[in-house]
Amino acid sequence: MTSKIEKEDLSRRNFVFGSIAAAGLTVAPGVMLYQTANARDLSKPVSSKVRWGMLIDTTKDVDWNKCVEACVKEHGLGNEEHSRADQRTQYIRVVDVKNKTTGYSMSLPVMCQHCEKPPCVDVCPTGASMKREDGIVLVDRHRCIGCRYCMMACPYKARSFVHETLTDQKTTTPRGKGCVESCNMCVNRVDNGQLPACVEVSEGAIVFGDLNDPESDISRLLAKHGGKQIRADLKLNPGVQYQGI
């Protein structure tokens, strides 16, 4: 049921995020320079031909905390003054997993998995929680009423609620008290042809690319080695996949 209103809406949102990304150009002009060749034409809607995804190789010996730091810096997180530890926003976290019987243990970064069939989008009453045509799932923070139903529905605990008034924000990542937020795959960077912040510092352990393009690095790696999804049994087909879990 793609009504006219919905289409109108999508382009409105693309405009919103597009203009934010354009603001990004002036914020960090140097960074953009090499990659503008891949940048999306911001005057056009997001294409459904691409589906952005990530492949995370957990067997690589990298310090995943660097990814967390890069994310915090990119989105201006960690600026809460009053919130308790369990109330602070985390877009990405390092999860330690241990097999009780064998003792084998490993760590992996977990963020929004950008599900193809995202429960957070299904349950959202206002449509604030939405999936772009290119597969990126995010919250339109101007439309979110803060009901937190999406947080209840997400099987990966990927979302955070802003528990206080925030100051000192990044123009590229608007955040606000009373709204829900989560990893947006650095949509501000991706729309400019850059890599997500965590991917950039991952020393190649996270590969970002177009899952719909069989020639892309990510698709080739997946074709060769396969990839695993967390809670694949839920059949949400996340865009974030793993090796070595």
Binding site: M1, E80, H82, S83, R84, D86, Q87, R88, T89, Q90, R93, V94, V95, D96, V97, K98, N99, K100, V110, P119, V121, D122, V123, C124, P125, T126, G127, R143, C144, I145, G146, C147, R148, Y149, M151, M152, A153, C154, P155, Y156, K157, R159, S160, F161, V162, H163, E164, T165, K177, G178, C179, V180, I230, R231, L234, I245
Partner: protein
């Protein structure tokens, strides 16, 4: 059998203003508490990114569930043509509306952005069960209002049965919708069961009737109107059956969980390893909220009005405990991301989340109850909701 006669409650009395004042104050404190939480942000509450729905939701869901249950008495009278319940039908419909209003106020004021209500009312995502609930709630208000009208306006009396039927069906869907809010959360063990929706319907019967009885008994007591044993005995017997039915569902729920490998954990958590949740389950929900009321209703005290009132109150307290376990316990119990593995992270993966209700949350929840009672108080004085007498010779068809 004498003729039934409805009469407004005298509004210009000290008693009336006292109740108005008390309930108004409770409502006002609730609104102020909400303002406080909204102004500072939810960091002043016990809620977190792990337990995202807290005490306000417990009260809100209680009131909404009780709302549809409170309509039962009217449904029994018009849909199932039991004349004994007819004198109570108006109060039943009105209370249902007041309970729903109280619950919705709490739900709304606990939003992160209640100022965006207009967004919620204008931009819909029809895939969301929440969206459907918005329609179910507004529809319920409208349908019950019409239903009440057909009861209270003589020329339309012949439509009461039809309106009652529509309202009855609507309320069943409404409670199913409320239960489904949880039923759709596939990722959380406590909610991943088809039993939740029917269980919510049975819960609504019990919670709604308990609330109805308290309101009925209190209003007749404080207005010095006669209320005979005929009415009370019927209602209390019905209430006991509902309480037992809820117990049955709770038992089935946990037994089914215990027999299924991937749901066993959450039932073991509630039944034996869950600390505060285990305490709430055995002591408050089962002990105080189920067994004791059954004893009070059917035991030697079964004829004592005070004891019947106490039983109703205990059922409501047990109901709140039950919803606390379902809503908050269900979130506190860790979500399984890697089955069979031990997990830990900075985001509290793999551990039972801690939650303690903060004062403003409790005050907001109670504020919702205040709103309900305030509306009831105003309504009984404004319109003819209550029969002047519910003495046995008026309502009992067999009385001489």
């Amino acid at each position: 059998m004498k003729k039934l006669h409805f009469l407004e409650v005298e509004g210009n009395t000290k008693g009336f203003y006292t109740f108005l004042g008390i309930f108004g104050l409770i409502s006002l404190i609730g609104v102020l508490a909400a303002y406080y939480m909204e102004h500072h942000g939810h960091y002043v509450t016990g809620m977190s990114n792990q337990v995202v729905w807290g005490t306000p939701h417990v009260f809100a869901i209680f009131l909404i569930v009780a709302a549809s249950g409170a309509l039962n008495v009217a449904s029994i009278s018009s849909v199932f043509a039991k004349t004994a319940y007819k004198p109570l039908a108006r109060l039943s419909g009105m209370l249902a509306m007041a309970l729903l209003a109280g619950g919705l106020v709490v739900l709304l004021l606990d939003l992160g952005r209640p100022d965006r209500l207009i967004v919620a009312m204008t931009r819909f995502n029809f895939v969301s069960i929440f969206t459907w609930n918005i329609f179910l709630y507004t529809g319920f208000m409208g349908i019950v209002a019409i239903y009440l009208w057909t009861m209270m306006d003589r020329p339309y009396n012949n439509l009461t049965k039809k309106a009652g039927m529509v309202a009855f069906i609507w309320r069943l869907i409404l409670t199913t919708g409320t239960g489904s809010i949880f039923g759709f959360l596939i990722s959380r063990e406590a909610y991943d069961t088809a039993l939740l929706a029917p269980m919510f319907i049975i819960m609504s019967f019990s919670f709604g009737l308990a609330f109805f009885m308290l309101v009925l008994m209190a209003s007749y007591k404080y207005t010095d109107r006669p209320l005979g044993d005929y009415v009370i005995n019927r209602l209390k017997n019905l209430l006991g059956v509902f309480v037992a039915a809820v117990l049955y569902f709770v038992i089935v729920y946990h037994i089914t969980n215990l027999y299924s490998a991937d749901h066993r954990g959450v039932s073991i958590f509630v039944l034996s390893a869950g600390g505060i949740y285990t305490f709430l389950f055995w002591v408050v929900q089962i002990g105080l909220g189920t067994v004791l009321p059954l004893f009070l209703l059917y035991g030697p005290t079964g004829k004592n009005r005070t004891m019947i009132g106490l039983a109703s109150l205990l059922i409501i307290i047990g109901a709140l405990a039950q919803l606390y376990i379902i809503i908050i316990g269900g979130q506190a119990y860790p979500m399984v991301m890697f089955p069979g593995m031990e997990v830990s992270s900075s985001f509290y993966d793999g551990v039972v989340a801690s939650y303690a209700p903060s004062l403003p949350e409790v005050l907001l929840g109670l504020g919702g109850v205040g709103v309900t009672l305030l509306l009831v108080t105003i309504a009984v004085a404004a319109l003819k909701f209550l029969p002047a007498s519910l003495a046995d010779e008026v309502v009992d068809p067999h009385a001489k």
